[in-house]
Amino acid sequence: MAQPTTDTSAEDALVNAARAGDRSAFGLLYDRYARMVHGILLCRVPPREVDDLVQEVFLLALRKLDSLRDISRFGAWLSTITRNRANDYFRRSDSLDRATDPEAEELAESRTNDHVVEQEAAMTLAVLRTLPETYREPLTLRLVEGMTGPEIAMRIGLTHGSVRVNLHRGMQMLREKLAERVQGNLPEKTLGAE
């Protein structure tokens, strides 16, 4: 299932224009990729930090755009920069342990909010973030950011097959973990044990 040529060539043109210094073209790339960057960050760092980090990622990408050799891989390149930035977040906060405990963090945040739905959302996000990285990322892009599977594949630069399999398996795992939570039997956190 190849992507429409017109879409990819339009995007290549945007990347080319942005590399040539056209900031409005870079703004259009932001519009296309901001949800991807946001989703990749959201499944790794605390939600309150994500918006600032999204801006940082795009500013870094703007500075480094000249180092992108194959413009057709802008999405894969940007997603790697984003994951690096998430890693960097934990380095700067001097607490790698936090990467293994997103659930406690989400729970702590949700305690300040009495609204039941907000709490349920925070709990669900926390469970989603305990999934292995392979599943957590596409599932966050699908369920939180509202991207479709083909869109995720195109943006991140993966095949439709692998994204579809990971969405399917990730959803299965998420269902199981949410069911365990309902039964009050959530097992040990597994993020660090991928």
């Binding site: 932001y30 180092s67 894969a76 369920l143 509202g146 479709t148 969405l167």
Partner: protein, 350 residues
């Protein structure tokens, strides 16, 4: 798989997926684009038009002389200074790490580590080095770490012996560490690299992934995996740290021991039988490391544990079709191998 709705929103809506979409949609990105246009205007880019270009010939002459003088000074200095380029900031952690004759013995003391210089720690000292645009590296006791190259977009160190813990935030492919038995290329990660006195190495990735290469032999080491390396042989086959002992022992002998073809067959048998689903990482690497005769067995076992994507055929894999191998690797979810191909070429050229 009846997951059309999950895949692209088509088909009969899955109530559970819909509920999750509604619940989690509150975290969706909703920030407008920053003013990138204004950002460019804020850049210090002086633009002189003809209207502002009215000054006397005397001032112009003085400016020209000064400019030539400064340029000459910079050129001479650049030629004399072999250690030009960004310098790593050294901070002492304990003991008295040293660079040349200079030892850092106080906590507050810092120093620069420049191209050609070597940071040495003895059995009781440790240090860290940091470069703002690249990352931070902790250097354990009994280590020797030299800066081979340092310029924007390319940092290259050489770990001659000892252990480093690297946290790299530079873009993939910009940070490279040479060892006596392999070259480690950062692909966005946190990792530990150890080199013993014989030059043998061990790389352990904590986050992201690392590429390891020597003489055309390549290994990709994602988070949770380990890869050993030996002088004159290069990187072995990576494996997950929690792999069964029998699997790990068999792999070490398979990679590095001097063994007969029969013994090699036995070891391969152990690897295929003991491999778990998550050991697809190892089996994928073995595809290109076994003989043509052994490859179908590895293919079958890997396909049973991690079915290949639709665009991958057994015939293609058995002939080591690079695109199909790449596609299968990408389906394992460890990272886009395309990045490796791009950046491996990039640093190889540097």
């Amino acid at each position: 798989m009846k997951d059309d709705y999950l895949w692209d929103g088509s088909g009969e809506p899955d109530p559970e997926v819909q509920k999750l979409e509604n619940l989690l949609g509150r975290y969706r990105h909703d920030q407008p684009a920053p003013a990138f246009d204004q950002l460019s205007e804020e850049r210090p880019a002086p633009r002189w038009g003809f209207a502002s270009f009215r000054f006397s010939f005397q001032i112009a002459a003085v400016a020209a002389v000064l400019l030539i003088g400064v340029a000459a000074f910079l050129i001479i200095r650049a030629r004399l200074a072999s250690n030009a380029g960004p310098a790593w900031e050294i901070a002492r952690i304990e003991g008295a790490p040293r660079v040349g004759w200079h030892s850092l013995s106080a906590n507050s003391e810092t120093a620069k580590l420049k191209v050609g210089q070597t940071l040495v720690t003895d059995n009781t000292s440790r240090a860290s080095i940091t470069l703002d645009e690249t990352g931070r590296i902790e250097v354990d006791a009994a280590s020797r770490l030299r800066v081979v190259a340092s310029r924007p977009g390319h940092e290259r160190l050489s770990l001659e012996r000892g252990t480093i813990h690297a946290t790299i935030w530079a873009p993939p492919g910009e940070f490279v560490v040479d060892t006596p038995s392999a070259v480690a290329v950062d692909l966005g990660c946190v990792y530990t690299l150890h080199v013993d006195d014989s030059g043998a190495g061990l790389l352990r990735t904590t986050m992201g992934w690392v590429g390891f290469k020597l003489n055309g032999r390549e290994s990709f080491i994602p988070a949770g995996a380990v890869c050993a390396t030996r002088p004159k042989i290069g990187p072995g086959t990576p494996y997950l740290e929690d792999a069964p002992t029998s699997f790990r022992d068999a792999l070490t002998k398979f990679d590095f021991a001097k063994i007969t073809p029969q013994e090699r067959n036995v070891l391969l048998g152990i690897l295929l039988v003991d491999a778990r689903k998550e050991d697809a990482l190892t089996l994928w690497h073995l595809l290109s490391r076994v003989s043509d005769t052994d490859r179908p067995g590895v293919y079958d076992r890997l396909a049973a544990l991690a079915p290949p994507p639709k665009d991958v055929t057994s015939e293609g894999v058995l002939h080591l079709d690079q695109k199909m191998l790449d596609s299968w690797w990408n389906s394992l979810g460890y990272g886009d191998v395309y990045l490796w191909h791009v950046y491996e070429r990039t640093w190889s050229e540097k």
